[in-house]
């Protein structure tokens, strides 16, 4: 078994601010993902990484940066927060870059004032 932790749980930012979200997993999984979930909508892929120091853009990468510093951690940066933005950012991981089960973290809830 393993666990994915995301910090912070809640994030309140100001318009134009640069905000960083962190994700850690102890599954020893190779691939990690960042998704955005808006209320009443599905999950949209922002970035993913198949190994340490690898980065791949998802469909929603504009406005975000990511960093895979080591195998167990994957960070996401909102480069310029948009006013009234409200969403949940979910981190996930899989054993490899194949069609394996994705395990999700508890999420970071973002609110931009």
């Amino acid at each position: 078994g393993g666990i994915i932790t995301q910090t912070p749980k809640f994030l309140i930012g100001q318009e134009g601010q640069k905000l960083t979200l962190k994700c850690q997993q102890n599954f020893n999984h190779d691939t990690m993902y960042w998704y955005r979930q808006d209320s009443g909508k599905g999950l949209r892929l922002i970035y993913y990484s198949i190994t340490e120091n690898d980065l791949q853009k998802g469909d929603l990468s504009e406005g975000y940066d990511a960093s895979r510093e080591k195998k167990s951690s994957f960070s996401l940066t909102v480069t310029s927060a948009q006013k009234n933005e409200m969403a949940v950012f979910l981190c996930a991981s899989t054993r490899d870059n194949n069609q394996d089960t994705q395990y999700f973290g508890p999420g970071t809830r973002l609110l931009v004032l």
Binding site: G40, D100, G105
Partner: protein, 113 residues
């Protein structure tokens, strides 16, 4: 362009009835279709998945029916229980695409006791 579509957006059935959730997709190269469920204030988790080599996958009260020709699949939940109340996401991926999942917008299922 929405590559994976789900209907209905929300569904209410009585306890004990069969709930049917629908999903369709655009890309004929998709070859893996997982369903994730998400309970309120929790993260998504894998429920059941199917590959096109089969047209049916069963796991207890949950069954996926798959129609490759029409690019449609459905999730049937028999003997629905109040504890099945959740949002259900259909997703799809291609074998060569590094595990990238395309999620539908979800169906919010409510089971009335």
């Amino acid at each position: 362009q929405q590559q994976v579509r789900q209907s209905p957006q929300s569904l209410t059935v009585w306890e004990g009835e069969t709930a049917i959730l629908n999903c369709s997709y655009e890309d004929s190269t998709f070859d893996y279709f997982p369903w994730y469920w998400q309970f309120p204030r929790e993260s998504p988790a894998l429920l059941i998945a199917i590959r096109p080599v089969s047209n049916k996958k069963e796991d207890g009260r949950f069954t996926i029916f798959f129609n490759k020709r029409e690019k449609k699949l459905s999730l049937h939940i028999t003997d629905s229980q109040p504890g099945d109340s959740a949002t259900y996401f259909c997703a799809a991926s291609e074998d060569y695409n590094q595990g990238k999942l395309i999620f539908g917008q979800g169906t919010k299922l409510s089971i009335k006791p």
